[in-house]
């Protein structure tokens, strides 16, 4: 059951280093053959690569746990990535921070309640410039 008290919860900042091997592994997993990912020595990341923040974010840095979405009734509904310029590249060291920015309900076609929660993660480069944002929307059915 979603805890509406999670609204506004922010995680502690965490570091995420973009690594060439990880970019290559991810690119192959999404069936990419583009040399921009596989041959460049400092490859740019694929558009959905920032999902690999899974490897860097846990515990206090992950406020999503506070949403307490029921895993058996919860689904990943939507995901968005925004890049403020060319996407990051291998060798970049990003600092990221997540916050739960929205919790709201809608009535489903069947008359049940759908509870949505949104977490936004901001990724900044070494100078503090905002380079990318990830926006994750989860939904729990009643």
């Amino acid at each position: 059951m979603v805890d509406t008290g999670a609204l506004g919860a922010a995680g502690t900042p965490f570091e995420m280093e973009i690594e060439r091997g990880k970019v290559r592994e991810f690119a192959r997993a999404v069936f990419a053959t583009d040399p921009a990912y596989l041959s460049d020595v400092e490859p740019v990341i694929p558009p959905t690569f920032l999902t690999t923040a899974f490897f860097w974010q846990h515990g206090d840095s992950d406020p999503w746990e506070k949403v307490a979405m029921d895993q058996s009734r919860g689904l990943h509904a939507e995901q968005e990535y925004v890049f403020h310029g060319p996407p990051p590249r291998a060798g970049d060291r990003l600092t990221a921070q997540s916050a739960v920015t929205e919790i709201y309900t809608k009535t489903s076609r069947g008359g049940g309640t759908l509870t949505f929660a949104v977490m936004v993660t901001e990724f900044r480069d070494a100078s503090g410039r905002l380079v990318a944002e990830a926006r994750q929307t989860g939904v729990e059915t009643s």
Binding site: F26, D34, A36, P43, E78, F83, P86
Partner: protein
């Protein structure tokens, strides 16, 4: 701007799901553990929505350039399972200039062999001046 041929992937294997899980770090057992998936009422391990998202992104960046993407949004619509074959493609929805940069918005779909849209995506690319 003529879109390239669709990206066709499949039939998806359990190995394809596991490879994506390892790459992404999402180790939810519903995507690889057969007994766990069946206990959840599914006929087989469920493909990851983010894999479908990644495939659409692969098609779009293969066309317009890996460094040129500025936005990628995906909405998950239907379940996908091993054995399904996915077709990813899209078309230009809008061309415009923002912050002095020519841009293009795409609308994409990831469709199963049964014609079911498993996921939809919306992407924005710059079309000039992108450093490759």
């Amino acid at each position: 701007m003529t879109p390239p041929a669709p990206l066709v992937v499949g039939p998806l294997t359990r190995t394809d799901l596991v490879r994506y899980q390892g790459a992404s770090g999402d180790f939810n057992p519903i995507h690889h553990d057969e007994p766990f998936a069946r206990a959840a009422g599914l006929p087989a391990p469920l493909a990851l929505g983010m894999l479908q998202a990644g495939l659409m992104a692969t098609w779009a960046t293969g066309w317009l350039g890996a460094a040129a993407v500025r936005r990628f949004r995906v909405r998950f619509a239907a379940k996908v399972f091993p054995g399904d074959t996915l077709t990813c493609a899209g078309e230009v929805a809008r061309r415009y200039t923002r912050d002095g940069e020519p841009r293009v918005d795409l609308e994409l779909t990831c469709t199963t062999q049964a014609g079911v849209v498993a996921a939809r995506a919306w992407a924005t690319f710059v079309t000039q001046g992108a450093t490759a």
